[in-house]
């Protein structure tokens, strides 16, 4: 009886084991063979869920599969492979002349009609596409000319066309095809994505290798994968990993993220509602230490990455003595323990951030240290869902990261964060001067005048401090020898660009 039992158990186990190894092995065979014939393997933390442009436009563009009509280059300028000339006819009408050189990945021409079709489809099926200027109608005049009509006037049509949702695509028998340098060979959602070069992208397609994007949920695992040579590119390095890999003599590049690290202050309630306290905290923060701890980046000079022409020109300084004066003005004095207090209550700042962006908790820890040394108490929280905290108002200072100019243009973010009723204006900040400047910006064509308006607004913000500028960060990417020349840019917006592996 017992022998039979043991036998039975062994058989069951052998079977499950065999099933485990063979069953799962079989699924991924293609991946294994791909890496032997030279796919570039990229480690990242997410991939597109599907290839539908309505759901996944952002990811598809980031993976080098789809393209917007306009995209940013490494200097933050908007460039287009599709449009050679964009002209405003009247308030609501624009005329675009096309380059006539772009082809879809199946070889068909991407003419004015194809562009108009896909843009109109997105306008109807993706409400997000009509946020900026209402519903936009595209009409093909002939093969090379496109007329664009908006519901509301906008001075920045190129930015509108650069919004992530406006990608160029064509539907063929229920499949979506795009114009980017790579096309999808196999998508295993949340696991891996296999890409092959798009032969019709340009004349360098045959020099490109296949690319595999592999998802890692743990940076420690990704680091091991990189060190063992299993992946060629590792995105999302935390500062300590970047440092460790640099020490080992591996290629780690710091590149401009476009994302900005900044703080939302609670101007509505709590100690930070007092402008002097905000200013004091702003003076206590040591941004040089922040940059040092993050192993890269610059001290912020505004709310935009510094390569943009509309970036700010404010100068942040650390001055604890000045902060002390401001706190005295606000009615705080140091008690016997060296802690600022008012009416017997110690000054305590509640700082909150989230774990998804690993750099932010580091910044918050530095801030906590600096506040403590200056004599201000602090309470810190790292939450899972930061928007709950922001909307609930249970914070004094929230550390936040966002790409503030994803369409190469400043007014979208400034309106969100500063205008009355803006969706990121959580504390209900309102300033007439800023509102005027924003309104003016909405009518001004891109150029120096518009850039100056952006700079003016950023200056006022730095005086009033509804937001505290912190770091214009650089992110780190680790590269194997084979791709050591690769230059990613614009944060995670274009992880795979046309220059990969060339």
């Amino acid at each position: 009886m017992k022998r039979r039992l043991i036998l039975l158990l062994s058989v069951i186990m052998a079977m499950t084991m065999a099933f485990a190894l063979s069953g799962c092995g079989g699924n991924e065979e293609s991946e294994g063979s791909a890496s032997t014939d030279g796919a570039i393997v990229i480690g990242c933390s997410y991939i597109a869920g599907n290839t539908n442009p309505v759901d996944s436009a952002w990811d598809l563009t980031s993976h080098g599969i789809s393209e917007g009509i306009y995209m940013q280059d490494a200097e933050g300028n908007l460039v287009s492979r599709f449009v050679s000339n964009l002209e405003r006819v009247d308030d609501l009408t624009w005329k675009a002349e096309l380059t006539d050189t772009v082809k879809f990945s199946d070889g068909s021409d991407c003419d004015a009609k194809a562009l108009a079709d896909c843009m109109n489809y997105l306008q109807q099926n993706n409400e997000m596409a009509n946020g900026t200027a209402g519903v936009v109608a595209f009409t093909a005049e002939d093969d090379g000319t496109l007329t664009i009509k908006t519901e509301r006037p906008t001075p920045v049509m190129d930015s509108l066309l650069a919004e992530w949702c406006n990608v160029v695509f064509k539907e063929v028998d229920g499949d979506f095809i795009y114009t980017g340098p790579y096309m999808v060979e196999k998508l295993d959602s949340e696991v891996a994505l296999d890409l092959v070069p798009n032969p019709y992208y340009d004349d360098r397609a045959d020099q490109r290798s296949n690319v595999t994007l592999k998802v890692f949920n743990d940076t420690a695992a990704m680091q091991q994968a990189f060190e063992s040579g299993e992946i060629d590119i590792m995105f999302g390095l935390t500062p300590d990993v970047a440092d460790a890999l640099k020490d080992k003599g591996m290629t780690v590049k710091d590149y401009d993220a476009g994302y900005q690290y900044f703080g939302f202050t609670n101007v509505k309630e709590g100690p930070m509602a007092d402008i002097n306290v905000r200013k004091a905290v702003n003076l206590i923060l040591n941004r040089d230490d922040m940059v040092k701890a993050l192993e890269g980046g610059r001290v912020a000079n505004g709310i935009f990455a510094q390569y943009y022409s509309f970036a700010g020109d404010v100068e942040e300084k650390t001055d604890v003595a000045e902060a002390d004066k401001l706190l005295a003005e606000a009615g705080y004095a140091k008690n016997s323990k060296g802690i600022y207090e008012k009416d017997g209550k110690p000054l305590s700042i509640h700082m909150v951030t989230y774990s998804a962006r690993a750099d932010l908790p580091i910044l918050m820890q530095l801030a906590a240290s600096e506040l403590t040394e200056a004599g201000i108490e602090s309470k810190t929280d790292v939450v899972d869902d930061i928007n709950v905290s922001l909307e609930g108002g249970d914070y004094d200072l929230v550390f936040y990261a966002q790409h503030t100019a994803p369409s190469g243009e400043p007014s979208a973010f400034l309106n969100m964060a500063l205008a009355d009723g803006g969706s990121r204006n959580y504390a209900g900040y309102s300033n007439d001067e800023i509102n005027d400047l924003l309104a003016k910006m909405g009518e001004t064509e891109p150029g120096e005048a518009r850039d100056q308006l952006s700079k003016d607004i950023q200056k006022i913000v730095n005086d009033e401090l509804p937001m505290i500028y912190m770091v214009d960060p650089q992110w780190h990417v680790a590269l194997s020898d084979r791709v050591s020349g690769y230059e990613p840019y614009c944060g995670d917006y274009y992880c795979v660009n046309a220059e990969l592996g060339l």
């Binding site: 485990a20 949340e190 592999k214 695992a221 063992s228």
Partner: protein
């Protein structure tokens, strides 16, 4: 017969209660999938946007209707689609299940197998080598986290020796490592269960009787007293099997194995109601089968178990 009906009735009730609870629980979470979706694309939470995404996800219908639709379709075998990516949930489950199943089931069974022998040896010689070994293994699993051990394993075999590729290729090494780690972390606890069950048998009169009749003490224990310890082991395995679905997050993350836990955590991140709800129901069904099979097994052993 009465027992069978009771058993089935209990699980039907568990199924219904769980489905209502989880349906309510996911909807009570402070941020909705709509918020998460908008955040993912840096979009403002205006009323228009929220309405649009809600209707896109089908969350604008009255709650009772949503519940009835969901549960009705689930029983019919249509598990719905992901709110976020629109993928068929059942297909996705089926694609991820082999990974989690092989890690969980193989690992635990392997561990249990080893635990039975170790537990037997440990009971045989109190404070002997096996006794101390199993004790130290329980302490070990409670002090050294799996994620540290997995880094060391990858570093040793993948980076230093370069003989195994854990992340590319067919994934056999990562799976093997995950299975062995699961086994290692179950051996300690399970072997202590076996040991104490054996010791209990040792004090029983039938064992004394047989030994006094001249049978060797070892043989008596191994050949005649093995059923109750085996039953205890099986009962202890039941709870561990609950973790097969979604309990191996740490291992799946550490070895980048695309199993159910990974899927679940990302569904939680995006608050994908339909995946979360369905997942819990699938776990209930899984546990039903685990209990069913193990109860039958226990009955086969002739042991009485306190559970219905």
């Amino acid at each position: 017969m009465k027992n069978v009906i009771l058993f089935l009735a209990k699980w039907v009730i568990i199924f219904i209660v769980t489905s209502v609870l989880i349906f309510a629980a996911v909807r009570m979470m402070p941020s909705t999938p709509v918020d998460k979706w908008l955040d993912a694309y840096h979009l403002p939470h205006t009323e228009e946007n929220i309405e649009y995404v809600e209707s896109k996800m089908g969350l604008n219908e009255p709650l009772p209707l949503q519940y009835v639709n969901w549960i009705g379709n689930f029983i019919k075998g249509d598990w719905g689609v992901s709110l976020v990516s629109g993928e068929n949930i059942r297909e996705r489950f089926m694609a991820k299940m082999p990974y989690s199943f092989s890690i969980g089931i193989t690992g635990i069974l392997l561990g249990a197998f080893a635990a039975f022998f170790l537990g037997y040896r440990a009971a045989l010689r109190r404070n002997g080598l096996c006794d101390r070994l199993t004790t130290s293994m329980t302490i070990f699993c409670q002090s050294i986290p799996m994620f540290i051990l997995s880094i060391l394993i990858i570093n040793a075999f993948g980076v230093r020796l370069g003989i195994a590729s854990f992340f590319t290729g067919d994934g056999r090494y990562s799976l093997l490592a995950a299975i062995l780690l699961t086994a290692l972390y179950s051996v300690g606890g399970l072997s202590r269960v076996v040991r104490s069950a054996f010791r209990e048998e040792m004090s029983k009169s039938y064992v004394k009787f047989m030994v006094s009749r001249g049978f060797s003490p070892k043989t008596v224990l191994w050949k005649h007293a093995y059923k109750p310890p085996l039953a205890s082991l099986v009962s202890a395995i039941i709870t561990r099997f609950a973790g097969v679905f979604g309990g191996s997050t740490v291992l799946e993350f550490a070895f980048a194995i695309p199993g159910l836990s990974t899927m679940l955590v990302s569904a939680m991140d995006s608050r994908d109601y339909s995946i979360l709800q369905t997942y819990i129901l699938v776990v209930v069904i899984w546990m039903f089968f685990v209990h069913l099979i193990l109860n039958l097994f226990l009955r086969m052993l002739g042991a009485r178990r306190s559970k219905a």
